[in-house]
C-alpha cells in the first residue's frame, strides 16, 4: 500500500490476517470506516432510488410495496449501520487514544469484538433484504410490524445485535477516558472531542439496552403473541412508541454529539484561536446527554398519548435548544477575530453551522404541539431530521475525515477537488432538502410513493439535488482513494493543531508515541503556541528572536 519510508501502523504488519486479528485501535477504526462507508454507499443507493420514484407523480419505477421497502431499508441502514457507528467507532476509535496520549483503548479485545458483532448484526440486516425486505419504516411501529409478512424479525434481530457492538464501544471509551489520559491531562484539559465521545458513550451504555428490550419484545410479540402491544390481548400499541423513542431520541444525540465534538476541534484549529467557553461546551455535552432522556414523547404528539403527556414533553423539549445553542454561540465566538483559513475541514465546519442551525431550530418548531399536529409525518419532518443528521452529523463526519485523513494515511488529498466536492454536497444538500420544508408545510405526507400534481415542481428540484449530492460523493470517493496510493506525503501536523494526535508521526507508529507524551499545554493554547513546519513553538520565543508580531 502506501510507501511511507518509516515504520507505522499500516506497514509494520502485513497481510489480511494481520488486519482481521488486529487489536490496534487504529486498524480497528479503519475496518470500521471501511464497513460504515459500504453501509453509507448502500443507503445512498436506496436514497437515489427513492428520489427517482418521486421525480414524477404516479408509479414510475417501483410498486407501492417496493417503495415501502426502499425507504425502510434506507432509514435502517443509514441509522443502525452507518450513522451510529460512523463517528465514535470509526473516527473516534482512531483518534481517541491518540488524543489522550495513550497506546490504545482500555480493552483492545472488546474493541475487536465490537467490530465483529457489528459485522454479524450487519449480516442479519442484509439477510432481511434478501428474505423479503421490511416495509415498516425504520421505526418498526406496532401494530403493523407485528402483522406485516415481511422479514421484520431478521432486521430487528440485526439491530438488536448491532446494539451490543455500540454498547461495547461505549463501555470501552468510558474506561479509556477515565484511566488512560496522559500525565497532566486533567478532565478540563481534555480535547473537547473527548468530552463529546464521553457523553456519547454514556448515552450508548444507558439507552441502547432499552432498544434491545424493545426489539426483543417485538419479536416475542410477533412469534408467540404475548400481548404486550396488541390491544386485543390487553396490550398497548402506543407503549411500543414509548419504548422505541426512549432509546431513539437519545440515539439522535449519539449521532450528533460526536459530530459536535469534531466541530469543536476544527473550529479552533482553523481559527488558530483558543476555544471560547471550553467548560460550557464540555458541560453542555453532558447537559444534552441528560436532557435527551426526557423528551422522547415529542415524537408521539399525534399517537394518541394523553394531552397531559404531550404538554410535559413539549415543555421539556424546548430545553434541548439551550445546550445546543450554547455550543453554537461558543463556536461563533471562537471564530470571531480568529485567523481563519478555509481548508476543506473548515469548509465543512462552516457548512455544519449553517445546516445544523436550520435543523435545530426546525426541531424547536416541531416541539411545539400546535405546529407538530400539522407537520407530523410530513416532509417537514423529513427535512428537519436530514438537516440535523446529514447536515449536522454527516457533514461533521466528513469534516473530521478530511481533518484526520493525513494522520490516518500519511497522505494529502487534493484540496482543489475537495473544494469542488464540498460545494456540490453543500449546494446539492440544500436543493434536496430545503425544498422539502415547503413540501411538508404544504401538506405532502411522508412515506408516500405517489402525490398530487401540485407538488411536482418541488419534488423535481429535490430529486435533482440528490443527483448533485451523488456526484459530490463520487468525486470525494475518487480523490480520497486516489490520495491513499498517489497523494503527496503528509507532514505530521498539516493544520497546525495542538492536540496530541498531531505530535506523533503521520501515519502514527504502531504504539502511537515513541514515549509516553506528557501534557505541557492545554489543547487550544493558540494564544501562546504555534506550529511551524511540524515544530511546536512558543510565541514569545519567536517574538524575542525575530521581534515580529505573530
Amino acid at each position: 500500500m502506501s510507501v511511507a519510508t518509516t515504520a507505522n501502523y499500516l506497514n509494520e504488519e502485513k497481510g489480511l490476517k494481520s488486519w482481521l486479528f488486529t487489536l490496534d485501535h487504529k486498524r480497528i477504526g479503519m475496518m470500521y470506516l471501511f464497513a460504515v462507508m459500504i453501509a453509507f454507499f448502500l443507503g445512498g443507493v436506496f436514497a437515489i432510488l427513492i428520489r427517482l420514484e418521486l421525480l414524477n407523480p404516479g408509479q414510475d419505477f417501483f410498486t407501492a410495496d417496493t417503495y415501502n421497502q426502499l425507504f425502510t431499508l434506507h432509514g435502517a441502514v443509514m441509522i443502525f449501520l452507518f450513522i451510529i457507528p460512523a463517528i465514535p467507532a470509526a473516527l473516534g476509535n482512531f483518534v481517541l487514544p491518540l488524543m489522550l496520549g495513550a497506546k490504545d483503548v482500555a480493552f483492545p479485545r472488546l474493541n475487536l469484538a465490537s467490530f465483529y458483532i457489528y459485522v454479524v448484526g450487519a449480516l442479519f440486516a442484509l439477510y432481511s433484504i434478501v428474505a423479503g425486505a421490511v416495509d415498516t419504516g425504520w421505526t418498526f411501529y406496532t401494530p403493523y410490524s407485528t402483522t406485516t409478512s415481511t422479514s421484520v424479525i431478521s432486521m430487528t434481530l440485526g439491530a438488536f445485535i448491532l446494539g451490543f457492538s455500540s454498547i461495547f464501544t461505549g463501555v470501552n471509551f468510558i474506561a479509556t477516558i477515565h484511566k488512560l489520559r496522559a500525565p497532566g491531562m486533567t478532565w478540563f484539559k481534555m480535547p473537547l472531542m473527548v468530552w463529546a465521545l464521553y457523553a456519547t458513550s454514556i448515552i450508548q451504555v444507558l439507552a441502547t439496552p432499552v432498544l434491545g428490550i424493545t426489539l426483543l419484545l417485538l419479536i416475542i410479540e410477533r412469534t408467540i403473541g404475548i400481548g404486550i402491544f396488541d390491544p386485543a390481548m390487553g396490550g398497548d400499541p402506543v407503549l411500543f412508541q414509548h419504548f422505541f423513542w426512549f432509546y431513539s431520541h437519545p440515539a439522535v444525540y449519539i449521532m450528533i454529539l460526536p459530530g459536535m465534538g469534531i466541530i469543536s476541534e476544527l473550529v479552533t484549529t482553523f481559527s488558530k484561536k483558543k476555544i471560547f467557553g471550553y467548560k460550557l461546551i464540555a458541560y453542555s455535552s453532558l447537559g444534552i446527554a441528560l436532557i435527551s432522556f426526557l423528551v422522547w414523547g415529542h415524537h408521539m404528539f399525534t399517537s394518541g398519548q394523553s394531552e397531559f403527556s404531550s404538554m410535559v414533553f413539549s415543555f421539556l423539549t424546548f430545553f434541548v435548544g439551550i445546550p445546543s445553542g450554547i455550543k453554537m454561540f461558543n463556536w461563533l465566538a471562537t471564530m470571531y477575530k480568529g485567523r481563519i483559513t478555509f481548508e476543506a475541514p473548515m469548509l465543512y465546519t462552516i457548512a455544519f453551522m449553517f445546516l445544523f442551525a436550520i435543523g435545530g431550530l426546525t426541531g424547536i418548531m416541531l416541539g411545539a404541539i400546535s405546529i407538530d399536529i400539522h407537520m407530523h409525518d410530513t416532509y417537514f419532518v423529513v427535512a428537519h431530521f436530514h438537516y440535523t443528521m446529514m447536515g449536522g452529523t454527516v457533514i461533521a463526519f466528513l469534516g473530521g475525515m478530511h481533518y484526520w485523513w493525513p494522520k490516518i494515511w500519511g497522505r494529502m488529498y487534493s484540496e482543489k477537488w475537495a473544494r469542488v466536492a464540498w460545494a456540490l454536497i453543500f449546494v446539492g444538500f440544500n436543493v434536496t432538502f430545503f425544498t422539502q420544508f415547503f413540501l411538508g408545510s404544504q401538506g405532502m405526507p411522508r412515506r408516500y410513493y405517489n402525490y398530487l400534481d401540485q407538488y411536482q415542481p418541488l419534488h423535481m428540484y429535490s430529486t435533482y439535488g440528490s443527483w448533485m449530492l451523488g456526484v459530490g460523493f463520487l468525486i470525494m470517493a475518487y480523490y480520497l482513494i486516489y490520495s491513499i496510493y498517489k497523494g503527496p506525503k503528509a507532514p505530521n501536523n498539516p493544520w497546525g493543531g495542538l492536540t496530541m494526535e498531531w505530535q506523533t508521526t503521520s501515519p502514527p507508529i504502531q504504539h502511537n508515541f515513541e514515549e509516553q507524551p506528557v501534557l505541557e499545554h492545554e489543547p487550544y493554547d493558540y494564544d501562546t503556541r504555534m506550529v511551524v513546519n511540524d515544530q511546536l513553538i512558543k510565541k514569545e520565543d519567536v517574538k524575542e528572536k525575530e521581534n515580529i508580531n505573530v
Binding site: 401494530p143 402483522t147 444507558l206 432499552v210 396488541d230 390491544p231 386485543a232 398497548d236 400499541p237 402506543v238 407503549l239 414509548h242 426512549f246 432522556f293 426526557l294 422522547w296 414523547g297 408521539m300 394518541g304 398519548q305 394523553s306 394531552e307 397531559f308 403527556s309 410535559v312 414533553f313
Partner: protein
C-alpha cells in the same frame, strides 16, 4: 490506584450481621403476607412495592456488598434505577391520563377495530 484497592479489597463482615439482615428479610416477608389481608385500595401496590424495595436494597447493600464497594458501583446501580424510574414516570404521564380531555383516547385502539379481525 487508590481506587483500585478499595474496589478489590475484601471487606469481611461479621456473621451476625448476615443473620440480622436475613432476619429482617424474613420479618418483612411476613409483613408482606400479613398486609395482603388488609385492603388499602389504590395504595395496595404502593405498600407492596415499598416493602419490596426495602428488601431489595438490603440484599444489594449487605449480601452483595454494595455498601462497602467502590462508590462507583453504587452510582451505576442507582443510576440504572433512576433511569427506570424516569421511564416509568414519564410513560405514566401518558397512560394515567388518557381520555382526560378527549375520551376517544382512553382506549388506544378499539378491540372491535376491523384491523383485529384476523
Amino acid at each position: 490506584m487508590e481506587q483500585q484497592n478499595t474496589a478489590t479489597a475484601h471487606h469481611v463482615l461479621p456473621l451476625s450481621l448476615y443473620f440480622t439482615v436475613a432476619g429482617v428479610l424474613f420479618v418483612l416477608t411476613g409483613i408482606t403476607v400479613a398486609i395482603s389481608f388488609v385492603h388499602f385500595g389504590e395504595f395496595n401496590i404502593i405498600v407492596a412495592m415499598l416493602i419490596a424495595t426495602v428488601k431489595a436494597s438490603l440484599v444489594a447493600l449487605y449480601f452483595m456488598h454494595l455498601k462497602y464497594d467502590n462508590k462507583l458501583f453504587m452510582a451505576v446501580f442507582l443510576s440504572s434505577l433512576i433511569f427506570l424510574g424516569l421511564f416509568l414516570t414519564l410513560t405514566m404521564t401518558d397512560t394515567m391520563h388518557r381520555g382526560d380531555i378527549d375520551p376517544i383516547k382512553e382506549h388506544p385502539i378499539k378491540k372491535e377495530a376491523v384491523f383485529y379481525n384476523k
